[in-house]
């Protein structure tokens, strides 16, 4: 596939979904963070040198349609079960970053049938800390410049000149922010049910965390990892909350190594 080609719109479970497809071979489903696909391009291109990457914009994000009635990440994970079946993906590596990691974890608590590996990059979605304090940085209560500073080791990988952005990009940004509020306003960035379901994740999992994450602290990442039966934790140096954006080479390499480390036979259950 021509790497200059943008995402195409595909009909998934009755909704028009924007999907970026790159590369050939073993399928990797990449679930983007709440800030959208912008900034993840380099990571996707690096993965696509070895595997087939399927990177949709989540329903309600980017230019993807929001199906009527969809309002929770639980709903969203069922949508992704439909997507996995309708694209007939098998032996699939699911990679989710931040908000996308929340979706990935919810998918993996619901099925292991077509999944072989799970990679969570700075994933959110579960509650581990005290009840009178959010575990995670509240982007809706923090000025943009401040949460950018806290979320990145080097915010320049993400920053854009908003004034010169085309209408289409501004629309995608506005939709990303609105959809994030729809799915994660309150409880903020988590599903109260998820923590107790994480034990159901039956595939090997790799939990990657930026060493300088000011959005989701590294202790949160370690708690997340400990709640998943077969998971290992690795720090990514010189990265904040979005290591796949700040250290795309290191993260892509870890995903490829982990995804191919122990090929699974169908029906191979631990």
């Amino acid at each position: 596939m021509d790497s200059a080609e943008g995402p195409a719109t595909e009909k998934i479970a009755g909704a028009n979904i924007e999907i970026l497809r790159r590369g050939k071979g073993r399928p990797v489903l990449f679930l983007h963070p709440h800030i959208g696909l912008h900034g993840s391009e380099r990571f996707i291109e690096l993965l696509a040198r070895e595997v087939q990457v399927i990177a949709p914009s989540h329903p309600g994000f980017g230019h993807s349609e929001l199906p009527k009635g969809m309002s929770t990440v639980d709903d969203m994970s069922y949508f992704y079960l439909d997507l996995i079946e309708s694209l007939d993906l098998r032996d699939l590596v699911v990679v989710g970053a931040s908000f996308g990691g929340w979706i990935a974890a919810e998918i993996a608590t619901k099925t292991h049938e077509r999944l072989s590996r799970l990679v969570l990059i700075g994933a959110v979605g579960a509650k581990f800390g005290e009840r009178d304090k959010s575990d995670l940085l509240d982007i809706f209560a923090t000025p943009r410049s401040r949460w950018e500073e806290l979320s990145f080791r080097d915010p320049s990988v993400w920053l854009r000149d908003y004034e010169s952005l085309p209408e289409e990009e501004l629309t995608a940004m506005a939709r990303n922010r609105e959809a994030t509020a729809l799915f994660a306003w309150n409880p903020y960035m988590y599903n109260p049910k998820l923590r107790a379901r994480l034990h159901r994740i039956r595939v090997p999992a790799l939990v990657l965390w930026g060493a300088h994450d000011g959005f989701a602290p590294i202790t949160y990442g370690r708690d997340y990892c400990a709640a998943i039966p077969d998971a290992k934790f690795e720090e990514i140096a010189e990265a904040g909350h979005f290591p796949h954006m700040e250290q795309p080479e290191a993260v892509a390499r870890r995903v490829i190594e982990f995804g191919s480390s122990r090929p699974r036979r169908r029906g191979d259950m631990r």
Binding site: A141, P143, R144, L170, M173, A174, R175, E178, T180, W185
Partner: protein, 392 residues
């Protein structure tokens, strides 16, 4: 023509310049409860005076802010329902899309309506953007939720033959059965604030009172959306009592004193705009198109004078705010003149919502203002005047 006395019940001692945001994040450590008790008593006394002198009463609510220290409109409404004799009791209003429990809203309204022997005016609002960060629910789908809450409140008040269940998209209830039955049948009058043509159309379709705040000479356009909706539905032109407008009044026997009071009151406009960055543009509050525009450039809230000059609502000079129809300042003659010209220019008005106390204004000054408006402005506005220019 009715005039409603209104104060936001502020806590102006907390308006120190070092506080960048007077909303959402200002610690309540800045509120001295002894001072606030005095403030509450004075405001209630002023409303009781308004009742005696022939004015009506308006109450609002905001949350987590020093600019309006009334987070529960039902509290002053309940006190005034018992302590006043004749005034209409308007709340404008209840932010029902942010409330978790519309049935509780119906119960509060029903009690206030009965205790006041049928004097409640039931105002429902979407709420300003910076109320959203304090809400359990986000602004996404807020208007859908608003109308479902509205439908449920009206059904709860008008169902008098036993309980019903509500299984809506946003609210689910078992055995809704509101006691007491409301005093005004079938339910107290409904007011709703609106700015967008679509929203005003929905208010017009239901025949409710349209509320507009500080919209100056743009008010004509907002009222015209209502008039057009009525015309489209084949209904007669709406009477002036379907329209209300909120403006700030600084009045005194001499102009110099009125101007001084205006300077005190304008502190309200200067302070109410002080909101920390993320709280002014909560996701979902504005359309995607408007939100995209806001990412590109942060806009100031402006209004225009009658001759089209742009005025910054929060920082404009008093003279400009008077020309813009936001403030009405001067002697009783001046205020009468400014109000009648304004009312003519917007094509008629049934309810003038007067911010008659604001900012650091003292109780004595507020008493003087209420007295002057009740005795020297209202009777003149109630006299038949030459036919106003009606809407096209």
């Amino acid at each position: 023509m009715r005039i409603y006395h209104f104060s936001e019940q502020p806590c102006p001692d907390a308006w120190a310049p070092e506080h960048k945001s007077l909303r959402v994040i200002l610690p309540s450590r800045n509120c001295d409860p002894r001072v606030m008790a005095e403030n509450y008593h004075h405001r209630l006394d002023e409303w009781m005076l308004a009742d005696e002198l022939g004015l009506d009463i308006m109450i609002n609510e905001h949350h987590a802010t020093a600019t309006c220290c009334c987070p529960v409109a039902a509290v002053p409404l309940a006190i005034l329902a018992r302590q006043t004799k004749r005034a209409r009791l308007l709340t404008l209003g209840y932010p029902i899309a942010n409330r978790l429990d519309p049935v509780r809203v119906a119960e509060e309204f029903a009690m206030i309506d009965v205790i006041s022997r049928g004097r409640l005016e039931m105002g429902l609002v979407r709420g300003v953007p910076y109320e959203v960060p304090l809400s359990v629910r986000s602004a996404v789908g807020q208007m859908d939720r608003f109308w479902e809450a509205h439908d449920l409140i009206i059904k709860a008040m008008t169902s008098i033959d036993g309980p019903f269940d509500w299984q809506g998209e946003h609210f689910q209830y078992r055995n809704v059965n509101v006691w007491p039955r409301v005093y005004q049948q079938p339910h107290p009058p409904v007011w709703i604030t609106g700015r967008s043509p679509q929203n005003i159309r929905e208010i017009a379709e239901r025949g409710y009172v349209l509320g507009t705040f500080l919209s100056g000479f743009q008010t004509r356009e907002l009222f015209d959306h209502y008039r057009k909706a009525c015309a489209d539905l084949g209904r007669p032109a709406p009477a002036p009592d379907r329209f209300s407008y909120l403006g700030i009044v600084a009045i005194a026997q001499d102009r110099k004193e009125a101007m001084r009071r205006a300077e005190v009151m304008v502190g309200y406009l200067r302070s109410s705009g002080r909101v920390a960055e993320p709280f002014g543009t909560p996701p979902g509050y504005f359309s995607v198109k408007d939100a995209a525009r806001m990412i590109k450039a942060r806009g100031k809230r402006t209004t225009t004078t009658r001759d089209g000059k742009a005025v910054d609502t929060h920082h404009g000079a008093i003279e400009d705010l008077v020309k813009a129809g936001i403030m009405f300042v001067g002697t009783p003659d001046d205020v009468y003149q400014q109000l009648s010209e304004f009312i003519d220019s917007i094509g008629g008005l049934g309810h003038f919502l007067m911010m008659g106390h604001a900012g650091h204004m003292t109780h004595e000054e507020a008493v003087d203002q209420i007295t002057l408006v009740a005795k020297e402005v209202l009777p003149r506005l109630q006299k038949p005047r030459p036919a106003t220019k009606q809407a096209a």
